[in-house]
């Protein structure tokens, strides 16, 4: 039986390595599909209105 637990691990030394490992741990099929839709996903990226950014900057200057 495989027990999945992180209680015995040293999170400070292991998490980064674990993260890097798992980041690449999508299956070949999933990676391939993900790559195929990346351009369409990227096309959905958007930006806030300039007015919104100006409001934020003005708020900061007002403090």
């Amino acid at each position: 039986m495989i027990e999945i637990s992180t209680s015995g691990t040293n999170s400070l030394t292991n998490t980064k390595a674990e993260s890097n490992l798992l980041a690449d741990d999508l299956g070949e099929d999933e990676q391939s599909f993900y790559c195929s839709i990346k351009p369409d996903l990227n096309a959905l990226a958007n930006n806030p209105a300039e007015k919104t950014i100006s409001s934020i900057l003005n708020y900061s200057k007002s403090l």
Partner: protein, 198 residues
């Protein structure tokens, strides 16, 4: 006197400069990360005006925290901002008591998806619909899958950072990404079949 290009300065240096009163550093931080933060918010709330409001509230919190000297996320500015935005999105849905198109299971209602396509593609050319369709498909994902996909792709966070923000294990975050991709693929295939049969 040498001139330092502000765009080459790290986030942490910009934060330090801003804390010491250099306002242009804040502007650079916002411009550097605005697309990742805004897109992450927008795809979760699906409303431009609301996304603008939450984006603004997010950076007001950022400003207040930085100016109060309470920032302690050295080297992790973007994940910290995304976490604030994520919490504000959750607060919003709690307030209006309206869940974003979500189920708590890992699947989705295929009949709802078919119904959606029947309605939305009636008078439109398929190619023109690609981006709208993909956006809608993302919205049909269960919320926990949607947020992982958005944080991974648009905010460019690692699964470790996503797991910290969402309070789940790295394996769970990774699993949700897998489900998100598989469900997107299923919905796209279903959509193709649906269009071919019309």
């Amino acid at each position: 006197m040498s001139t330092i290009n502000i765009q080459s300065i790290s986030d942490q240096e910009l934060i330090n400069q801003y804390i010491h009163g250099h306002e242009p550093s804040l502007e650079e931080l916002i411009r550097r990360h605005k697309s990742k933060v805004y897109t992450s918010i927008y795809l979760l709330v699906k409303d431009t005006y609301l996304a603008e409001d939450i984006f603004q509230d997010t950076f007001i919190k950022v400003i207040n925290t930085l100016k109060a000297g309470r920032y302690n996320e050295e080297g992790k500015f973007l994940p910290w901002v995304i976490r604030i935005a994520h919490n504000l999105v959750i607060d919003h849905f709690r307030k209006v008591k309206r869940a974003p198109v979500v189920t708590t299971v890992e699947g989705f209602d295929i009949f709802e998806v078919l119904k959606f396509y029947d309605e939305s593609t009636e008078d439109k050319i398929i190619r023109e619909q690609t981006y709208t369709d993909l956006r809608e498909l993302i919205h049909h994902l269960p919320s926990e899958q949607k947020e992982v996909l958005i944080m991974r792709h648009y905010a460019d966070l690692s699964f470790k950072e996503i797991s910290d923000i969402t309070g789940v294990s790295i394996n769970t975050a990774l699993g949700r990404m897998r489900y998100a991709l598989n469900n997107l693929r299923k919905m796209m295939l279903t959509r193709e079949l649906s269009l071919k049969n019309t």
